[in-house]
Symmetry: D2
Subunit: 102 residues, 4 copies
Amino acid sequence: MVGLQRRLVEFAEARDWGPYHTPKNLAVALSVEAAELVEIFQWLTPEQSAVVMEDEGTAHRVRDEVADVLAYLLQFCAVVGVDPLAALSDKIDRNEHRFPRS
Amino acid sequence: MVGLQRRLVEFAEARDWGPYHTPKNLAVALSVEAAELVEIFQWLTPEQSAVVMEDEGTAHRVRDEVADVLAYLLQFCAVVGVDPLAALSDKIDRNEHRFPRS
Amino acid sequence: MVGLQRRLVEFAEARDWGPYHTPKNLAVALSVEAAELVEIFQWLTPEQSAVVMEDEGTAHRVRDEVADVLAYLLQFCAVVGVDPLAALSDKIDRNEHRFPRS
Amino acid sequence: MVGLQRRLVEFAEARDWGPYHTPKNLAVALSVEAAELVEIFQWLTPEQSAVVMEDEGTAHRVRDEVADVLAYLLQFCAVVGVDPLAALSDKIDRNEHRFPRS
């Protein structure tokens, strides 16, 4: 993941996108891509959503939107200096206390 | 990342959250968490957004929302069977053709 | 607004879209359209965003996304039985107490 | 609706919120409020979502989020000079051609 993050940062630098990549803009772009992922599912029943990857065209769209969400998440983290894996590991530790096993 | 993804899946299984974790619901939850990240920045100028991590309380909120976004992204990917790093690597390859260096 | 809401409801009924128009799906569709409105602005500076209507193509996109957001908001309200103008009027009354004039 | 829009604009002016109320920020705030509406429904089945107003606490949250979405939509429209009812009326006219009755 660190290698992909570096490729994304170099990609943006090589295209002079730095001034656009404020933390605010990257967070907003992440939310826009998350909405594009949601759009694939918006009219589906829970049952239809469970088999969405059986259609190759839709499966491609899903992978593409997952990539976009992760790309903006990693670029956001690079700009604000957050380690996303450490943040998630800490959060899971906290949640194991908050939500006891049923 | 694979280890964290496994912890998240086991965490949900141990709490019988499986029926709630349809691809549709996880995509929607991802977008809700992305909006909570955006909310931190919504009234900030670009300049204010660039120094957002200097305030420890805000920095904690940012790390927390990053963790939530990544958690739902990994759980979504587990349920639909998408490898997020492979999806992103493919996308960067394609983008290097679409957007030539300036 | 009531007349437009009635046209939207009749439009959906005439196309048998009722089963898709659950409160959940309409709320999700509203959030997807809001993200499409945001997308127009995502890389703009505050100054650029202030003159966005000077470009006729962008102005058309803005009006189109405003229409989509309002359409899903009115359809959501019809399905759950909420009067949006009454809800907003109540909220403004409450906010006048919460946020005193500066 | 015009009266409520005027109250919102005066409310913001009286609190010197003008500099924050760029078109970009208001569109982003609209999307954040739309996500808060979605959050109410995120883990509900379609059937549960259809009876969401039977619980008075949830019904209050729904009305509150509807008010917030409409408030930011009207403030956005005031700032960019769009008439939301005219935009929606035009859109319905276009859609009646795009989607013939079934």
